[in-house]
């Protein structure tokens, strides 16, 4: 190989920097070329400068940090990039939902009163979670020994559920008539809920792939004509397990 052209050098250096897991120094980049390729440090510096200029207006930049050069995501687009690592929310426990419901309908109410109605202890974590979410707050204290806190719901609670006031909460009579047959809302049926939650955007993609994986189109000599009957486990199941 003879002396390398500037543009070819640029292509290589860009690829090398984007494939490297960490920043590369001028010396490290230079070491990738043979003697015949004759790549000097001044030339490399010019290449790097040119690559930096190419990043103008783009979502990434070629930055020089202590240990060398690296491509990095520009700060102003980071918020979108960060959304990639948003964890899918889990599910609140039934105990939490019951506690929240009792606070909403029986406020102001103490923890002991909630426990009395529910018949079980209310964990501090539940109250803490509800307070952190700013759905409930302490509205006062009951004048009994220990001065227990009285909990009530907040404006944020009303806002989240699109209510103008607590008036708009369904009456208890209406609640009694709520149809709780819908499986995905039945709290007993934890699996159904999980399945619904899991059906995020990534699963769409998985389904697409399943369609792509059509076996052997156009090949007439498949030895397994009855595959449809023979396959016991469906595609979706395995995808699910892998996820």
């Amino acid at each position: 190989m003879t002396k390398m052209e500037f543009n070819q050098l640029k292509r290589i250096v860009e690829a090398v920097l984007l494939a490297a897991a960490q920043p590369l120094s001028l010396a490290q980049i230079g070491a990738l070329f043979t003697e015949e390729e004759a790549v000097g440090h001044e030339e490399l510096a010019r290449v790097l400068q040119s690559l930096q200029e190419d990043c103008a207006g783009r979502g990434v930049e070629l930055a020089e940090v202590a240990s060398g050069f690296r491509y990095q995501v520009r700060l102003d687009v980071h918020p979108w990039v960060a959304r990639m690592w948003t964890e899918r929310p889990s599910r609140y426990s039934r105990a939490l939902l019951e506690t929240l419901a009792l606070i909403a309908y029986r406020q102001p109410i103490t923890r002991a009163e909630i426990e009395q109605i529910r018949g079980v202890t209310v964990s501090s974590n539940i109250i803490k979670t509800l307070e952190e979410r700013e759905w409930v707050r302490v509205v006062g204290y009951r004048d009994v020994p220990g001065k227990p806190a009285l909990f009530g719901t907040t404006r944020a609670f009303l806002d989240y559920f699109n209510l103008k006031s607590l008036d708009e909460l369904p009456t208890l009579a209406e609640i009694r008539d709520i149809d709780d047959i819908e499986p995905q809302l039945r709290f007993e049926d934890g699996d159904a809920i999980t399945a619904r939650i899991d059906a995020g955007p990534q699963d769409e993609a998985v389904d697409e792939a399943g369609a792509d994986a059509a076996p052997d189109a156009g090949d007439a000599s498949t030895p397994t004509p009855d595959t449809d009957d023979a396959i016991v486990v469906g595609d979706a199941d395995t995808e699910e397990n892998r996820a």
Partner: protein, 296 residues
């Protein structure tokens, strides 16, 4: 870009003790003691270590057969069974003599070849000429089937692939922390939770049938919050006339309810004197010292 390691090509490979290089560009079959083996030796003498390599180089009897056929540029559809069988048997025999571990499949193939050969040798009645299937047909089908996947494997190997031919391009991201979103809750879930807990508490049957004045409860909370500072507030200051008559009534009911639940204290020192209210308990109330206020 001579970046690839220098390749040993058939042309410049030394060939001494082994058979002459065939015309077609054949790559070394094996390298034994630094010497490339360019062709399967034609005579019966094969250095033992070379044979081992050769045997390793074959992916089974079909592969060996294919090799024997292709080496001679023969059409797979028209195999001279007798000759191929003889060559095949030679290899098998050599392997046995050298006590190489021979996969059973090789012997099965030997039997198949022998059977085909014998069927071809048998004279067939002229009447049935053409009607009977060629005894080689099944073997030919298998050979072809194997060969197409042997070729497919080479094709797949030739596809540009990660690591060998390309690498993912990635940029550095300053903050890869995972964002955790709070779980969503639907109103219906909340109601079902309530329904459930109320059913358990058997509250439906007793006194929960009537429509609850929920706004009174909300107002109770609001009043308590106002009184949360622990000081006395004038009764009138708790009302907002702009809310109209209904608002006043709701506040009044809330005050009565709070008094009934012993959450507030209502004080009037003399008839028609100002009424003051304060919460019976507050957060900074734990030591029992009531804050004193001037306007009392």
């Amino acid at each position: 870009m001579s970046t690839e390691p220098a390749e040993v090509s058939a042309a410049d490979a030394p060939h001494g003790v082994f058979a002459p290089v065939p015309q077609q560009q054949e790559m070394p079959l094996a390298v034994v003691k630094g010497q490339p083996v360019l062709e399967m030796p034609q005579d019966l003498y094969i250095p033992p270590d070379a044979l081992e390599v050769i045997l390793d180089a074959f992916e089974g009897p079909l592969d060996l057969l294919l090799y024997l056929i292709r080496r001679q540029n023969l059409d797979i559809l028209d195999i001279p069974v007798a000759e191929i069988t003889r060559q095949y048997m030679d290899y098998i025999e050599m392997m046995r003599e050298l006590r190489l571990e021979l996969a059973a499949e090789y012997l099965v193939m030997a039997a198949i070849l022998a059977e085909i050969k014998s069927r071809l040798l048998l004279p067939r009645p002229p009447a049935e000429e053409g009607a009977e299937e060629d005894p080689r047909a099944e073997l030919v089908r298998r050979l072809q089937e194997y060969e197409r996947f042997k070729k497919a494997a080479e094709d797949i190997d030739a596809l540009p692939r990660m690591e060998r031919d390309t690498s993912p391009a990635q940029a550095y991201v300053a903050d890869r922390n995972v964002i955790r979103l709070p779980p969503p809750v639907e109103m219906k879930e909340l109601l079902l939770a309530l329904k459930d807990v109320l059913r358990r508490a058997e509250l439906f049957g007793h006194h929960a049938v009537k429509r609850e004045a929920l706004s009174v409860r909300q107002r109770m909370g609001d009043v308590l919050k106002t009184l949360g500072d622990g000081v006395f507030h004038r009764f009138e200051s708790l009302f907002d006339v702009s809310e109209g008559r209904l608002g006043v009534v709701v506040t009044f009911l809330a005050l009565l309810e709070l008094a009934k639940e012993q959450l507030i204290e209502i004080v009037q020192e003399a008839p028609l004197a100002p009424i003051y209210l304060k919460a019976l308990a507050t957060a900074d109330d734990q030591d029992g010292i009531q804050p004193t206020e001037a306007h009392r």
